[in-house]
Amino acid sequence: MKNAVRDLRTARKLSQQQLAAAMQVSRQTINSIEKERYTPSLPLAIALARYFGTTVEEVFDADS
């Protein structure tokens, strides 16, 4: 699923490892989400949106 995780992360100068630690997932999971190979669960999607101070709809593009 298309998403803005990489843009949001790099805008805050965060590494994948730092974001992964904040989300309590592996760095590879963040990488897979950014490369659109893995669609996160609803709890993780909400956690990502809250972490970036935005909405799930603005982070993830369900229509893509």
Binding site: Q24, V25, T29, S32, S41, A47
Partner: protein
């Protein structure tokens, strides 16, 4: 999200490998085949060492326990389902082969029945749980 219990610790899979190796050794020893039991234990101990010290591979970390998260849970689920399908297909094929040769295929039939029955029960229980 991350699961944190002993089964997800670094030492879970190595310990499990050693335990399974010891059980295999015991089984062979009871069957008066200590040599084969020692070989089996050695193989399991080596496998445990690979899990314990293979820290750089995400695959080994995921198989071994640490580093698992929701993505790994999904990978585990799909891999288990695929392995189950492969096993059932193999058992079915082996049973048909045995029957076609006029031999006793009851062992394969039993394994297939257990697999099929457990699948039906799992579907019913999981559907009931929502």
């Amino acid at each position: 999200m991350q699961t944190r219990d002993f089964t997800r610790s670094r030492w879970w899979m190595p310990a499990f490998c050693l335990f399974l190796g010891a059980v295999m050794f015991g089984a062979f020893a009871i069957g008066d085949n200590v040599g084969q039991g020692a070989v089996s234990f050695g193989i399991m101990a080596a496998l445990g060492a690979v899990f314990a010290f293979g820290r750089r591979s995400e695959t080994l970390q995921g198989l071994g326990g640490p580093g698992r998260d929701e993505r790994w849970a999904m990978i585990d689920l799909r891999a288990t389902a695929l392995a189950g399908v492969v096993t059932i297909l193999f058992v079915l094929g082996a049973w048909l082969y045995q029957v076609a040769r006029g031999e006793d295929g009851s062992a394969y039939a039993l394994i297939g029945a257990v697999g099929g029955l457990s699948y039906v029960i799992a579907v019913a229980v999981l559907r009931w749980r929502g």
